[in-house]
Amino acid sequence: MGLPTTVFAYLVKRLISAVVLLFIITAVVFAIFFLLPRLGGASADDLASRYVGKSAGAAQIHETAVRLGFTDPIWVQYGRFAKGLVAGSDYYTGAGYDHCPAPCLGYSFITQNPVLPDLLDRLPVTMSLAAGAAFLWLLGGISTGVVSALKRGSFIDRAAMTTALAGVSLPIFFTGLLSLSIFSYGLGWTAPGGSYTPFQENPLMWAYDLLLPWITLAFLYAAAYARLTRAGMLETMNEDYIRTARAKGLREHDVVVRHGLRAALTPIVTIFGLDLGLLLGGAILTETTFSLPGIGQYAVQAVANNDLPKVLGVTILGALFIVIANLVVDLLYAVVDPRVRTA
């Protein structure tokens, strides 16, 4: 197959548009957090009051507003923010300057530290959660979907699709709490939540701690993927090339997997990429339900504490993951479907 120039051009094109997209996202995120409140009537002092605590006087608040730059024109503020992303910036904490190295996603005045290191600390938790769950839901969802499609109308099909319907309908805090109360508190098979062991320390404990969150999260997604796979398989198994594969005398297993599933999986690749990107930005409900110290939980705490820079940081990280996921999906599409590659 090689890597013809068309693929290279396609790659470069996608990369450039990803960078442009990221730039637009930062602008939009910035506008949401800093411009909209001002348009909504909040003064620079109102914004600053969130950073100094409730006990501060008006003069102190105003001083903070000037120090944080909230009184500057909006484009100067965005320039400073963008500069922080690219080159890093220094934040005056009252006691002195604290450096926030590039890429600076923001600096929390409440906990007095840059946001990014916090996020990087918590990323492994969210990644472990997402990766494990993704593995389970792909395995469960796709195999269920294939079997359902092949046994269309049978008892297995109807049972699977009813379960899938329940899966997509039930909220995760319900299935999560239910499984916690049964498997952890009742039977004592799984970890009770709230703990996380890094993989490099003890892989078994890592899996033990995450097992229930994985299953709960995977159940939700597997349900959707089972339905998608089933619909895709029903369509592709009626294609002419399936009849050709059978006419060649291939084994039914090869017909289903190599010819049917191969084609049916293409749209699933797209959706999987986006789902995974979204999850890496924080599995908020799952992490909260199981008290996992991931990015989602971090975001929830930041919102509760009114810690705007942290929320902004999480938002931008999440957006980054989605853009990357999009990019990967586009490239993967070119790998999966030769018609994209060679057109």
């Binding site: 051009a9 094109k13 450039i16 548009s17």
Partner: protein
């Protein structure tokens, strides 16, 4: 049913009896590539056609896939706008007229499509489908729309009771009749029929062909038929225009063309048609073209047929042959035409004496 428009008085006098005239008609679809969507080339779907359609006649456009016949049909009905050239209907330039100005033209020029499944809205009843043109053009008929629609259904051989049925309740042939009824609603002058019978079974094809002929006689219709089936084209047409890769290669009267094809491509096309006669298997001298039709993005230079033509010489690759009249009413675009001195002597096409053509009017 009073849906006729007064023809503009000057047309017939100034333009002879041509209902439709195209001059240098061209359609290039731009190909855009890259970040800035720059135009990097064009699909030269139709490239400089000149022809006329006389009132009451049937002109067929015939050719293989990619020859531009469907694009031409869509330009004639102004479903798409030509890139270049002139399109005149009844002497009026309609090449670039606006959507609003198109309204009266839509009344006079109607289209019948190939796919009787795809061209009828499955959620609408036959009554709604056939009656739609009246509503779109705000036309009140004497007897009311329902009665007029039922008349139309009877006209095309359906029962008036089919008024409230849905398209899926009909067979392919009946659906094509519904499409024909719809196109006739406004008493058009010109009907462009794009592969009107190619999706139908053999026994049904003949029914629809006969119906189209009857309607033409009854309403003095003019047809432009777009088709790939040379046997159907011969049966239906008065004149035939053969297209190859966006160009006209030969235009002639039906009998002239089928007895004396002059363009090598026309000869090859006719020779390739399988005929239901086993005795021809051995007897027939075949012309076999090699390869497929080249891409209209990069058509061969000069004569576009030169890559597949057994007669091609250097001149065919350097100078484009113009479409010129080599016999009365017979235009050919070729440097080395076949049968230049009269009808074909060999048994390439017809082995029955041509005189039978006149006898067979019964």
């Amino acid at each position: 049913m009073t849906a006729s428009t007064a023809p503009s008085p000057d047309t017939a006098a100034t333009r002879g009896d041509a209902l439709l005239r195209v001059t240098n008609l061209t359609k290039h679809f731009p190909i855009r590539r890259g970040l800035l969507q720059r135009t990097v080339g064009a699909v030269q779907a139709v490239d400089g056609l000149n022809f006329e359609v006389a009132k009451g006649e049937t002109l067929s456009l015939v050719g293989e896939s990619g020859c531009g016949k469907t694009t031409t049909g869509r330009m004639l009905t102004r479903l798409i706008e030509p890139t270049d050239g002139l399109l005149e209907f009844e002497g009026r330039d309609v090449t670039h007229i606006s959507m609003r100005q198109l309204r009266p033209l839509r009344r006079d020029v109607q289209m019948i499509f190939q796919d009787p499944y795809g061209s009828l809205n499955p959620r609408h009843t036959v009554g709604t489908i056939v009656g739609a043109p009246f509503k779109l053009q705000n036309i009140k008929t004497e007897k009311g729309i329902k009665r007029s629609v039922q008349d139309l259904l009877e006209l095309v051989g359906l029962s008036p009771e089919h008024y409230n049925r849905y398209p899926h309740e009909f067979s392919g042939g009946q659906r094509q009749r519904i499409g024909i009824a719809r196109s006739l609603a406004l008493r058009p002058k010109l009907i462009v029929a794009d592969e009107p019978v190619s999706a139908l079974d053999v026994s049904i094809q003949a029914q629809v062909i006969n119906l189209l002929e009857d309607l033409q006689n009854e309403f003095d219709l003019t047809y432009v038929v777009i088709a790939h089936d040379l046997s159907v084209v011969r049966h239906m047409s008065d004149r035939v225009a053969v297209m190859y890769l966006g160009k006209l290669v030969e235009v002639a009267g039906r009998d002239e063309l089928y007895t004396r094809p002059m363009h090598p491509y026309t000869t090859a096309l006719m020779s390739a048609v399988p005929v239901p006669d086993t005795s021809r298997r051995t007897k027939r001298e075949r012309i076999r073209l090699t390869g497929d039709v080249p891409s209209p993005i990069n058509p061969p230079p000069a004569c576009r047929f030169n890559t597949r033509c057994w007669k091609a010489q250097e001149v065919c690759r350097t100078i484009e042959p113009p479409l010129v009249e080599l016999a009365p009413g017979h235009q050919v675009a070729c440097h080395f035409p076949e049968n230049p001195d009269g009808p074909a002597a060999g048994p390439v096409l017809l082995d029955t004496p041509r005189t039978r053509d006149d006898d067979a009017t019964a």
